[in-house]
């Protein structure tokens, strides 16, 4: 079954003066998928997002949300969109509830029940009647998510949503986003400059650099393309130095009392290394492989230079 594109971006460009900030971006986002928008700082992620939500004027190109042109019919296009642009800045002198009420009044048909439901979903029910100035950053993120979800949008746009969250918070957000994408068939656009985060959160990733879209791929495809893995063995060796032959090509040397072996290899080679080490009497307590996608990403985008 063909998935329906909820957002169609066609030749989207932004020029400020003579400078082209965003250069003819074209891509679609489908229902039920989490789309990662990846690029180094200054590549144009935030500018693109600001154009998608109507904060910045589109110089050239078209954006259709649920089939409605954002340029021609802003109100009807944007009503399907919920979002957080950069940090979720709220009215600090109001309570969390008053903040939500404020945004609820700006869309027709949001009931008190819906507000309470969203508060339950993001888990703020205990503190919702406290002033926002007493909230931690994590709680503000939750409130930010709540205001974005209020009107049950078809597209959720989150700009650097994990900024300032602790690892537990990031994990929770990730699980929640995957859940609503799957269960409620919402399309989610997430931007980030951290690839490791994207890998775990997204179905597809688009890489942007210098305002141009370099590559759009499924995360799996990205993973398949990967070359070497960095593999981390946690071991206990006995007192003698050992030279272990793995295959025709490689040998490793293990020093007395060595605790860790870190090697780069292809995925297929991991069992060979493991077997040979075990046969040589090395006790293995753990094996962990890290993808070198991060390196590949840096290769593609040419590092973190600001263009």
């Amino acid at each position: 079954m063909e998935k329906e594109a909820i957002v169609q971006i066609q030749n989207l460009s932004k020029k400020i003066g003579d400078k082209t900030i965003i250069d003819h971006l074209t891509f679609d986002i489908y229902q039920g998928e989490v789309f990662g928008f990846l690029g180094p700082n200054g590549a144009g992620k935030t500018t693109t997002i600001r154009m998608l939500v109507g904060l910045m004027a589109i110089t050239e190109g078209e954006v259709y949300i649920n089939g409605v042109s954002l340029k021609k019919d802003f109100e009807n296009a944007i009503k399907h969109v919920g979002g957080i642009v950069e940090n979720p800045e709220m009215y600090k002198f109001l309570t969390g509830y008053q903040n939500l009420l404020h945004y609820a009044r700006m869309v027709k048909g949001i009931t008190k029940e819906r507000i309470n439901e969203v508060i339950q979903i993001v888990g703020l029910d205990k503190r919702i009647h406290d002033k926002v100035q007493t909230y931690s950053l994590g709680m503000r993120q939750r409130l930010g998510l709540a205001q974005a979800m209020l009107h049950s949008p078809k597209l959720l746009i989150l700009d650097e949503p994990t900024n300032g969250l602790d690892p537990a918070g990031i994990r929770e957000l990730r699980d929640y986003l995957r859940k609503i994408a799957r269960e409620d068939n919402i399309a989610i656009l997430v931007s980030s400059h951290l690839l490791s985060e994207m890998e775990q959160m997204c179905d597809r990733i688009g890489i942007i650099q210098h305002g141009k879209l370099i590559d759009v791929k499924m995360v799996d495809e990205f993973m398949e393309q990967q070359g070497e893995l960095s593999v981390h063995f946690q071991i206990e060796a006995n007192k003698n130095q050992k030279e272990i032959t793995i295959n025709d090509m490689s040998t490793i040397t293990i020093m007395p009392n060595q605790k860790v072996v870190e090697l780069r290899m292809q995925k297929e080679e991991i069992p060979d290394y493991t077997t040979q080490m075990v046969l040589a009497g090395v006790k293995i307590y753990g094996i962990r492989s890290t993808s070198t996608l991060e390196d590949r990403f840096l290769e593609v985008t040419g590092g973190n230079e600001i263009g």
């Binding site: 109507g54 910045m56 009503k79 709220m90 002198f93 404020h102 700006m106």
Partner: protein
């Protein structure tokens, strides 16, 4: 379509849930009470008969006019007006309004409208600029509501704030005046000087007219501050510039009043009371001219505010 009422409710929530606003309302009430106490207990009115005082004043003005034929025209006309009013008082036995009566008190507190102008300018200046300062503008403008409508709600809530303060001023003056000075003398008429002759006006009409005239200046200055705030996104600039103009504007026009083009300056036209009860700053100005100028300035402010706010890229 989201109703404008809901948007105004939002803006009201953002105005009245802040400490600053409550402090402003408190200060206004305090000013009314302080004025009342000063008028009742501090200022002593001279106990001489009002007829004698008025006669002395009239004689004084007349000799001044005869001795100095080169007095500025504005001052000459002021003297002539005062002489006519004084003569009317003696002829019809109409006592001047004393400060220690409720009409006199309400007449004095009508001057506090300038404080309301100041407070409204502060609210108007913060209305748009604060959203940028807080960063909340980003979440505000990604709703299915046009920017024009959001700006309109902000503008209307500012005007509602001004109207609320004006009602508070009127009612608290009535209450404080009633308690301190009693309700007698409430029916003494006010003498207005219209087209070269004296007319009796009821006091309520007179005070509401005073509020109305000050209200025009209030609206113009609030709209100006609102425009600066929407265009430059800075509330301090909007407050500073507006208050600077408020304090210096009339003086500058007075300095330039010998040039006929001075009548095109906003501040030559903001005080419409001169057409009812005095002389215009520049000779040859008429009420309809001033109203026309005010409408032109108003349209200029409004189109700048809306034009630029609607087009602006939000990069905050």
């Amino acid at each position: 379509m989201v109703s404008i009422i809901a948007l105004i409710q939002n803006e009201n929530m953002k105005i009245y849930r802040r400490i600053g606003t409550i402090v402003m309302i408190g200060l206004l009430l305090l000013a009314v009470i302080a004025t009342g106490i000063i008028q009742k207990y501090v200022i002593k009115e001279n106990a001489t008969d009002w007829r004698t005082a008025i006669q002395a004043e009239t004689t004084n003005f007349k000799t001044n006019l005869e001795k100095n034929p080169n007095l500025p025209t504005a001052l000459q006309r002021h003297y002539e007006k005062q002489i006519q009013i004084n003569e009317y008082r003696l002829e019809h036995n109409v006592q001047p309004i004393e400060n220690s009566t409720i009409p006199g008190f309400m007449n004095t507190t009508a001057n506090l409208v300038s404080i309301i102008t100041l407070f409204t300018v502060i609210v108007a200046a913060g209305s748009v600029a604060s959203e940028f300062y807080w960063g909340t503008i980003k979440l505000l403008l990604i709703r299915p509501v046009t920017r024009s409508k959001i700006l309109l709600a902000k503008y209307l809530s500012t005007i509602i704030f001004a109207l609320l303060l004006l009602s508070i001023l009127f009612l608290s003056s009535l209450l404080v005046g009633g308690i301190l000075f009693g309700l007698e003398n409430a029916d003494v008429p006010y003498l207005a000087y219209v087209d070269g002759h004296v007319e009796e006006v009821s006091l309520v009409t007179h005070i509401l007219t005073l509020y109305g005239y000050s209200g025009i200046e209030l609206i113009m200055m609030a709209t100006f501050a609102f425009m600066i705030s929407a265009v430059f996104r800075s509330s301090s600039l909007a407050i500073g510039l507006t208050i600077f103009l408020l304090f210096t504007g009339v003086q500058v026009v007075q300095l330039l009043s010998k040039y006929s083009w001075a009548k095109f300056i906003l501040f030559a036209n903001t005080n419409l009371a001169v057409y009812q009860d005095g002389v215009p700053i520049v000779e040859g100005m008429t009420l309809s001219f001033s109203i026309g100028m005010l409408i032109l300035y108003y349209l200029l402010f409004v189109s700048l505010a809306w034009g630029i706010f609607n087009k602006r890229d939000i990069t905050a």
